[in-house]
């Protein structure tokens, strides 16, 4: 992973996680798979770095966690979005869209 990509990821990982979890209760491995899959392997980070982020979001009350049986029959930790997390996600998505609109506008017109 290049240095720029890592820096870029740091700020957006929280939003990506929230977005993925918003679809319904999901465990850590599945989250990492989803992110890689959707982004077409753009985000190639050490998979372990997902976990401190998950725990941080849980500590902030944006995610709620529960232990239950996974599809393989083993117990796994499933995360789901809290009401606070939902609000945060909306705010971050809005912020991101504004930012990306502005950036793309500049890129298109600043020639």
């Amino acid at each position: 992973m290049s240095q720029e990509k890592a820096e870029f990821l740091k700020g957006t990982l929280d939003m990506l996680i929230l977005k993925v979890v918003a679809a319904g209760p999901i465990h850590g491995y599945a989250i990492s798979q989803r992110i890689q899959q959707i982004s077409k392997d753009f985000f190639q980070v050490p998979q372990g770095s997902l976990y401190p982020a998950l725990h941080r979001l849980e500590e902030r009350g944006w995610l709620d966690a529960e232990w239950k049986d996974s599809s393989t029959g083993r117990e796994a930790k499933f995360y789901k979005l809290t009401r606070k997390g939902k609000k945060q996600l909306e705010a971050e998505v809005l912020h991101w869209e504004q930012l990306s609109d502005a950036v793309s506008l500049i890129l298109r017109t600043a020639e």
């Binding site: 850590g28 990492s32 372990g48 770095s49 976990y51 401190p52 500590e59 996974s70 393989t72 796994a76």
Partner: protein
């Protein structure tokens, strides 16, 4: 509060984290295997992609709040252990903290409970005392101030103001009360009917006084003071409904007030009777009911005393147009916060002491900071090692601060203990300027202050050594062998602290010296007489008895010789003034001279009605002529002795002896000679009859037997401690007539101390103690620092000696 729950089940949390991460790995391995990769290769790849599992576990733990708490608890335990290991250091530091925190807590308690929040009354911080200031007089003088009002004035203020929630009036009302041995004079206080609702204090027993109690025809009732209840009724709870005979009138006790309810410092409170409410305030009355009342108001929320003063001034201007005699030509009405008015000049001393304890606190912070600094220097290697194996700067600073925190915790605890003992000691010396309502103790706000001070101390004394310790190059510190680094000796911080400490303690000592000097000067103001061996008491006569000059003369003819015979008594006299306590005065008309300027004060000359013994009591020097004699008194001759200031004022170039003057006050008073001229027979030296600040006032002494008016005082000069003869003097007075009250017996020295010396004495006492303690702290601090650093350099010193150093 999930973290609190998780705090208790740490191993479970760790296991869960472990299984969460392993679940991920195993899923990944399973996915690789199912895509046809060999199990060994699958595990290798999965591990590679995941990254270091232990590292992420650590990061996960770090984001959890309970981890901080665990770390803190570890640090606490570690700090406690290392402080116990280094007992000498710990004791020095705790000692310094105890002194700093304890002393500042003591002074804070006095300021907070005695000055800022002394009154337990409803809206106590908003109570204001009202007065009228004569603008022609200097702002600070007592003479230019009229703090009392008539009832109609108070009523007008109450009804027409827009800035006060309510106004009450209260006036002194001295009443006689018979006990088994004799008669006492109780300090009653007549209050307007709204007073008890105004103060909003629940009685200890009984009910509050209401407006019903002041209606015409209501039975006389009173609420009594806690101390009086304990003294006269021994705390009997059945006292409610009992009757006290006050001045021959039965008064029903309806309430016992709690100890902190002491308006006016009175023994009992009773409503202003309806008769007084309707009386003409301009007619002088001669009963013991008050004519003038002090007025206290409570500001509306958000109103300043200045705004209230301006508001009341408008009302006072209207009152002045209808009764111009009661107001100066130019005046202003002033509302002054009660706590300001009561504590007055003592506040300056208290703020001075606050500055002193702040310095003391800084000294102890400096002490502790220095000790921590030396200790941190000694632990440089330990800290470097910790940094080397992965502790972050923040983590190290936290750990070092935790040590300071533990020290401050212990210091806070022992400081509070010191403050508790110190307050007990201080309360004995506390001057009477602090209102009686104040409850100076270690209450919640004060304890909060102690904790706050401790926290500030932690940061002041702990932070810079901690930052100092983790700064710099760790590699050098790791490789230096067993000695403390050269940075120790060159530390500017360390020497700066020592210099600062010594400077502060010098400043404290200089303050103490200055205060001692001015106190010494104050106590050595020549007084005109020796006050140390004089006992004074007020004699109050029962209603309708001893009213004429003859009756008074007959009474004192029996009392004075009886008291004079007592062992230890060298002189005895009757008088109507007690220096610094009360005095009388009159306008003077000198025969053959122009009548006095009507704009001068009424009490232009001080007047004492006394027996011939007074000149021996005060040890007054005869300057010219003679003093009057027992025969003059017996014959009630109209002779007078004047003081030197009197001569300077009225007879600058003439011989005063043989001149005659008239005291106009006698023309108005009952039982007094009308249009009587007194002949000056002698001139005596001045006595400080107005206290220590001002120059003496012109004064005349005339035989007490010329008038039957007024209460009289008894003055006794003794060859022993005046209080030791108190009991026998009282016995003698009561042996003549049990119905005469023997009130407020006090040595003149006691009065002098109370009025002038108590406040500065307290200041001197406190600042001397603080300065001494400050010096002690510095000495111990420097000594401890030297001893500690020498012990750290033992290795180096040994080496130098081995190499031949002497």
């Amino acid at each position: 509060m999930g973290w609190l729950r998780r705090l208790g089940q740490r191993s479970l949390v760790d296991r869960r984290l472990d299984s969460e991460l392993h679940f991920h790995l195993e899923q990944q391995i399973a996915a690789y295997i199912s895509s046809g990769i060999s199990p060994v290769e699958a595990r290798r790849r999965a591990n590679l992609e995941f990254g270091g599992i232990e590292r992420f576990k650590e990061e996960c733990r770090d984001v959890r709040a309970e981890t901080r708490v665990h770390e803190f608890l570890y640090d606490l335990r570690y700090a406690w252990r290392s402080l116990r290991k280094d007992l000498r250091f710990s004791l020095l530091a705790v000692f310094a903290l105890t002194i700093g925190i304890g002393c500042s807590t003591i002074i804070f308690s006095i300021v907070y409970n005695g000055v800022l929040h002394p009154f337990p009354y409803q809206g106590g911080e908003r109570l204001v005392a009202l007065s009228v200031w004569d603008l022609a007089k200097p702002a600070d003088s007592k003479e230019g101030k009229r703090p009392v009002f008539t009832l109609p004035e108070i009523r007008a203020f109450r009804e027409r103001n827009r800035t006060l929630e309510d106004v009450v009036g209260w006036g002194n009302w001295y009443v006689l009360y018979k006990t088994q041995e004799g008669t006492e004079s109780l300090h009653g206080c007549r209050v307007t009917a709204n007073a008890f609702e105004f103060f909003g204090v629940t009685p200890l027993l009984g009910r509050i006084l209401t407006t019903e109690d002041a209606k015409p025809g209501a039975t006389p009732i009173a609420a009594i003071d806690y101390k009086l209840w304990k003294r006269l009724f021994h705390g009997d709870r059945g006292v409610i409904g009992a009757k006290m005979i006050l001045d021959d009138t039965p008064v029903t006790i309806v309430a016992v007030m709690p100890p902190r309810f002491t308006p006016d410092g009175a023994d009992l409170w009773a409503p202003v009777p309806a008769s007084l409410e309707q009386a003409d305030p301009n007619r002088i009355r001669y009963d013991n009911e008050p004519t003038y009342f002090f007025a206290t108001g409570r500001l509306k929320r958000g109103t300043t005393p200045a705004a209230a003063g301006a508001d009341l001034n408008v009302i006072a201007k209207q009152l002045a147009t209808s009764s111009p005699d009661d107001y100066p030509q130019k005046f202003s009405t002033v509302a002054r916060l009660l706590s300001d008015a009561v504590v007055a000049d003592f506040k300056a001393i208290l703020y001075f002491l606050m500055a002193a304890v702040a310095m003391l606190l800084l000294i102890s912070c400096g002490n502790v900071a220095n000790l921590l600094l030396v200790r941190a220097t000694a632990r440089e290697r330990e800290i470097a090692l910790r940094a080397a194996i992965g502790a972050s700067h923040g983590r190290l600073v936290r750990q070092l601060l935790t040590e300071a925190f533990v020290l401050a915790g212990i210091g806070c605890f022992s400081g509070c203990a010191l403050a508790y003992l110190g307050l007990k000691l201080m309360l004995v010396h506390l001057p009477p300027r602090i209102p009686g309502e104040a409850d100076i103790s270690l209450n919640l706000p004060v304890l909060g202050f102690a904790v706050l001070v401790s926290l500030v101390t932690v940061f002041l004394s702990g932070l810079s050594p901690a930052l100092h310790a983790v700064g710099g190059n760790f590699r050098n510190k790791l490789t230096s062998v067993g000695t403390i680094s050269t940075s120790f000796r060159q530390s500017k911080l360390r020497s700066g602290l020592i210099v600062g400490e010594v400077a502060l303690s010098m400043a404290l000592l200089v303050f103490a010296g200055l205060m001692l000097r001015s106190f010494h000067a104050l106590t050595h103001v020549p007084f005109g007489f020796d006050p140390s061996r004089v006992l004074s008491a007020n004699l109050s006569f029962p209603k309708g008895r001893y009213t004429t000059a003859h009756q008074k003369k007959a009474y004192f003819d029996r009392v004075l010789p009886k008291v004079a015979e007592l062992p230890g008594v060298t002189a005895v006299a009757t008088s109507i003034m007690i220096p610094l306590k009360h005095a009388a005065g009159s306008v003077l008309v000198i025969q053959g001279k122009a009548p006095p300027d009507p704009h001068r004060e009424r009490s232009a000359t001080m007047l004492d009605l006394c027996s011939e013994g007074i000149f021996r009591i005060f040890d007054i020097e005869l300057v010219k002529g003679r003093v009057f004699t027992a025969e003059d008194v017996a014959a009630a001759r109209r002779v007078a002795v004047v003081n030197q200031t009197f001569v300077r004022e009225f007879f600058a170039s003439e011989d005063p002896v043989g001149q005659r003057f008239k005291l106009t006050v006698f023309d108005e008073l009952p039982e007094s000679p009308r249009d009587a001229y007194f002949e000056i027979v002698g001139v005596v030296s001045d006595v400080r009859n107005r206290g220590l600040e001002g120059p003496p006032f012109q004064q005349v002494y005339v035989p007490y037997s010329v008038s039957g008016f007024a209460h009289r005082d008894l003055m006794v000069r003794t060859s022993v401690d005046p209080l030791s003869v108190l009991k026998s003097v009282r016995q003698q007075v009561w042996s003549v007539d049990r119905d005469v009250a023997f009130a407020d017996p006090e040595g003149l020295n006691t009065i002098l101390t109370r009025v002038y010396f108590a406040a500065p004495q307290f200041g001197v006492f406190a600042i001397t103690a603080f300065a001494a303690v400050g010096l002690l702290l510095v000495v111990i601090g420097v000594f401890g620092l030297m001893a500690y650093s020498v012990s750290l350099q033992r290795h180096e010193i040994g080496l130098r000696m081995a190499l031949g150093a002497t």
